[in-house]
């Protein structure tokens, strides 16, 4: 038992909470005091406390990682989320697999951002860090894991809890308190994906970044510096929008590659919970930029910046309190933190609202009505549209909360989320997206030029006509005969052309200002990409054989799925498609192993080579043990067109414990469309094959024969001294026949064995799974030099697949990249600006 790591961990957890509280208190004193000397010393206190806090958080992270990477399974966290076989990079993702670890990741990013804040901005340090450290203290309490004696009230859930404390009722611990499991439960196979290594850190950095503008905003209200907080906060909002957006898209890409619902976005509450804050944050970015340039929209900025952070807290509450339990496909477990999470949400919501209400009258605002031809007007409409977009998603996602509140008032809880989430959200989001497309085109012109109606019409004429022409062309060429989709596409093209025109002008004069135009082009492309890939996604694995796959399947299943027998090509999507067999994935190097070339062992993660196998750069000799990902089976499927071939390896996990088949797609990517393929039914490995009756034939060495319509030859028969899985005694005789069968694609070898022990005969048949043939050496006739071979045949191996075409999905990914480039350019510009101001001593 390694108690020290855990004890140290607990110590650091407690230290991190106390130091966060200390830092918050010191910074509060520093903000409130007027005496300069005292102020300095409180500031100093705050700084020391915060650095101590940062140190403890780092310590917690290191210790937790030590527990995970050294496989200390006496700790619940390591036992529950990892095992010995995980490679290092997945051990890293184990770190944030549990709720405690993801809180920790969030806290870690906060400490990094806090240090940057302290280092860069002296003027705002005290008030900003007061709010900042208060938030951090709440987070630290989430991983505290302390039970208040007498009250039985648990504060937080610690990642350093021992397995025996986590499962006190497990019988093993009453018998053996020192029991340590040999191996852990392992990481959910769906999370064993490279995106899961980088997506959570990106997302939580995005979460963390929303705190900074919030702190500046509250500090501004507090110090009555109602307007000057915007300048230092703006670069943070910009970075936050970029990083959070990137995190969301990475999540979508992971879902597309790994899950089998066939898309990148499913309107699941978990996805919505980050989408809504991001929309509001983008809205706040726009109003903040407006304010910086024209001193309007200050109140809107304050409301929005506060809303972003509250939305993040609300999302945290939604996804971690267990309130979504009945409505989300992701099963969330309530760690008993819901009360604490609610307190966290309410504290900052009420606090921020009280602050703004008290100061509201003093906030300067322009009484002047914004002209229809001013950029403020258009930006404001754009920001409102973004907020309404977020509001609609929030309304749908919050149904379980409404239920809970109704329940509190004793009303019957009957409201359930919409059954068709995609339709429910899309019918609004589509039109909001159209509005965003149009506004981001028009708004950008107002941004760069003082225009009146006439100039505007002149400027917009060319982009509008170009968008209309291109849209008409695409509608006809690609048959986009759905009016809402066509309008969405028109809006997308309009913003691309309008912003392209602006970009063209800017590149000549001031390329560093081009971030906005580029980002909006990205948005336009994304709208078009989403419209095509989701709106026109269609099933291509249509069953064109005229035969049902099985009577027990639904009509829909029989129609949309294709049954492939091994080595029997079919046509699909203009390709010849052929199933080549089941494959296993070696654990420690790339490549795939044919299942027929290996024998299973007791341990599903180890197989034994039946013959010499070459996998990538590795050579295995017969009887070598190969480490594999035993839970995964890959189905090699070849696509051929002309002289080009592509190979797909969709994956399935057949897991009786988990009650079924877990499948992941493989994607063939071409310029114009993705072919998204997953298996939908596979042979049950636990089920015995139904073999035909044995057919016997007498052959000589070197003689040809037919087996299941394949030509075979008995190549050799020899005495052997080692039989895998059997211990040979002195008197035993073992004989191995080598039979070669010529299949459609390649030659196969079967090596049936004939064993004589105490005058008894034992026969070990050998199966060639690809051909559906089993060979048995039935008898040896030394007098005629002949051998009797027994041949059984069965239905050939098969797999049922479903494939979907995702047209122009690359437009979406390209749009995403361009959007990120736009954010990057804008960030560079704002950071430079900030440095300049700092050099002048203005920050």
């Amino acid at each position: 038992m390694h108690y020290l790591v855990g004890d140290l961990g607990h110590l650091f957890v407690i230290t991190s909470l106390i130091t966060a509280l200390l830092a918050a208190f010191s910074y509060l004193k520093a903000t409130l005091t007027t005496d300069l000397n005292q102020r300095e010393s409180w500031l100093w206190n705050g700084k020391v406390a915060f650095f101590a806090h940062a140190g403890s958080v780092l310590g917690i992270c290191i210790l937790l990682f030590v527990i995970i990477s050294n496989h200390y399974f006496e700790y619940y966290y390591a036992y529950n989320y990892s095992d010995r076989k995980l490679p290092t990079y997945y051990l890293i993702s184990t770190f944030w697999n549990g709720q405690e670890g993801s809180f920790l990741l969030w806290m870690f990013w906060h400490t990094v951002l806090g240090i940057i804040l302290i280092a860069t901005n002296k003027f705002w340090e005290a008030p900003v860090m007061t709010v900042f450290c208060a938030v951090q203290a709440f987070l630290a309490s989430m991983i505290l894991g302390v039970v208040i004696p007498g009250l039985e009230f648990k504060i937080g859930s610690s990642p350093f809890i021992l397995l025996r404390d986590a499962m006190p009722d497990a019988p093993i611990f009453t018998a053996q308190p020192e029991f340590i499991p040999k191996d852990g439960q392992g990481l959910n196979p769906l999370l064993q994906n490279y995106w899961m290594v980088i997506h959570p850190p990106t997302l939580f950095l995005g979460f963390a970044l929303t705190l900074v503008p919030f702190c500046y905003c509250i500090a501004g209200l507090w110090l009555k510096k109602f307007s000057s907080w915007i300048r230092p906060a703006l670069p943070w909002t910009l970075v936050g929008c970029g990083v959070l957006g990137l995190g969301i898209l990475m999540g979508g890409y992971w879902a597309y590659e790994t899950l089998n619902f066939g898309g990148y976005w499913n309107w699941d509450p978990v996805e919505n919970a980050v989408y809504v804050p991001w929309l509001i944050m983008v809205a706040s970015l726009h109003t903040m930029i407006t304010y910086k340039n024209s001193e309007t929209a200050l109140k809107a900025s304050i409301i929005l910046v506060i809303s972003v952070f509250i939305a993040i807290l609300y999302s945290t509450f939604l996804t971690r309190s267990g309130i979504l339990g009945d409505s989300s496909v992701h099963s969330f477990t309530d760690l008993g933190l819901s009360g604490q999470l609610l307190l966290y949400l309410l504290f900052f919501t009420v606090g921020a609202i009280v602050f703004s209400v008290v100061r509201w009258k003093e906030i300067p605002s322009t009484e002047k009505e914004a002209s229809t031809y001013s950029r403020e007007f258009w930006i404001f409409i754009g920001a409102t549209t973004l907020c309404l977009m977020g509001f609609q998603v929030l309304a749908g996602t919050s149904i379980p909360v409404v239920n809970a509140i109704l329940g509190e008032f004793g009303l019957e809880k009957k409201l359930a989320p919409p059954t068709d989430a995609v339709a429910f959200y899309s019918k609004f989001q589509l039109w909001f997206a159209v509005a965003i497309g149009l506004l981001s085109a028009v708004g950008q012109f107002f941004w760069w030029k003082k225009v009146d109606r006439k100039v505007l019409m002149n400027q917009l004429f060319i982009p509008a006509v170009a968008a209309l022409l291109v849209s008409l062309l695409v509608v006809n060429l690609l048959r986009v005969f759905n009016l809402p989709y066509a309008i969405l596409m028109l809006a997308g093209f309009f913003t691309i052309f309008a912003n392209g025109k602006i970009l063209f002008g800017l590149l000549k004069t001031s390329p560093s200002l081009s971030g906005g135009a580029i980002a909006h082009i990205g948005i336009g492309l994304m709208l078009i990409g989403i419209m095509f890939s989701s709106g026109y996604s269609k099933v291509v694995s249509l069953n064109n054989t005229g035969l049902q796959i099985s009577k027990t399947f639904s009509e829909e299943f029989n129609r949309d799925n294709l049954m492939l027998f091994i080595h029997e090509p079919r046509t699909m999507w203009g390709f010849e498609i052929e199933y080549l067999g089941e494959r296993l994935e070696p654990r420690y190097h790339a490549g795939f192993i044919q299942k027929g070339d290996v024998l299973p062992t007791e341990d599903q993660h180890q197989v034994v080579a039946k013959r010499e196998i070459k996998v990538g750069s590795k050579d295995y000799q017969p009887n070598d043990t190969i480490e594999v990902h035993g839970e995964n089976t890959y189905y090699e499927i070849q696509l051929r067109k002309g002289d080009k071939t592509y190979t797909l390896f969709p994956r399935a996990q057949i897991n009786p414990d988990m009650g079924g088949l877990l499948v992941s797609p493989d994607i063939y990517r071409s310029v114009s469309a993705d072919l998204y393929t997953h298996v939908s039914s596979v042979m049950d490995p636990s089920e015995e094959h139904e073999w035909s009756d044995i057919e016997e034939m007498k052959v000589k060495q070197g003689q040809d024969f037919f087996a299941n319509d394949y030509v075979g030859i008995l190549e050799s028969v020899e005495r052997i001294h080692n039989v895998y899985g059997v211990e040979l005694r002195d008197q035993d005789v073992a004989v191995k026949a080598t039979v070669r069968l010529r299949g459609e694609k390649q030659e196969y070898v079967a090596e049936p064995i004939f064993l004589i022990r105490d005058k008894m005969v034992g026969r070990i048949p050998d199966e060639i799974a690809d051909l559906g043939v089993r060979m048995t050496l039935m008898n040896i006739h030394p007098e005629t030099n002949e051998f009797t071979l027994g041949i059984n045949t069965r239905q050939k191996d098969w797999v049922v697949i479903k494939a979907m075409e995702k047209p122009y999905i690359n437009v979406l990914w390209i749009g995403t990249l361009i959007l990120m480039v736009g954010f990057g350019i804008a960030m560079t510009r704002r950071i430079k600006e900030f440095r300049k101001m700092k050099a002048k001593g203005l920050e």
């Binding site: 986590a166 499962m167 099963s331 477990t333 409102t384 509001f391 099985s550 399947f553 988990m658």
Partner: protein, 134 residues
Amino acid sequence: MKKSHIFLLVVIAIAIGIIVSTADDASTYVGFGEAWAMSTSGNNKDIHVVGQLKKGNDGEIIGIKEGQDRVSFSFIMVDDAGKEQQVNYNQPMPPDFTRSEKVVVVGSYHGDTFNASRIILKCPSKYQEEKITV
């Protein structure tokens, strides 16, 4: 009327529209009895039913029938009012199905059977798990 007032009115109108549409599209949690009544009266909208898997005296789950090739399966669910009903699901059994302490099925009646289009599981908190494979 000032332009900003018109704008505000439009925003409020849209917001109300969203709320009304959400309330309208929201499904409802009902028992099998009510679901049956709804379907016989011609209402075939998908509804949510909350309940548990049927368990035998020894706590074992009973009534799960797997379709061929594990592509579909059916099970017996007991709703909160205690009414039993066979539920068909045209997909493989979801992971952790048998471990779930609560099941939500989304679907509607077709004749005598309830066809689920989606199953949502509520699994016991990991802290309550008492099984360790030694």
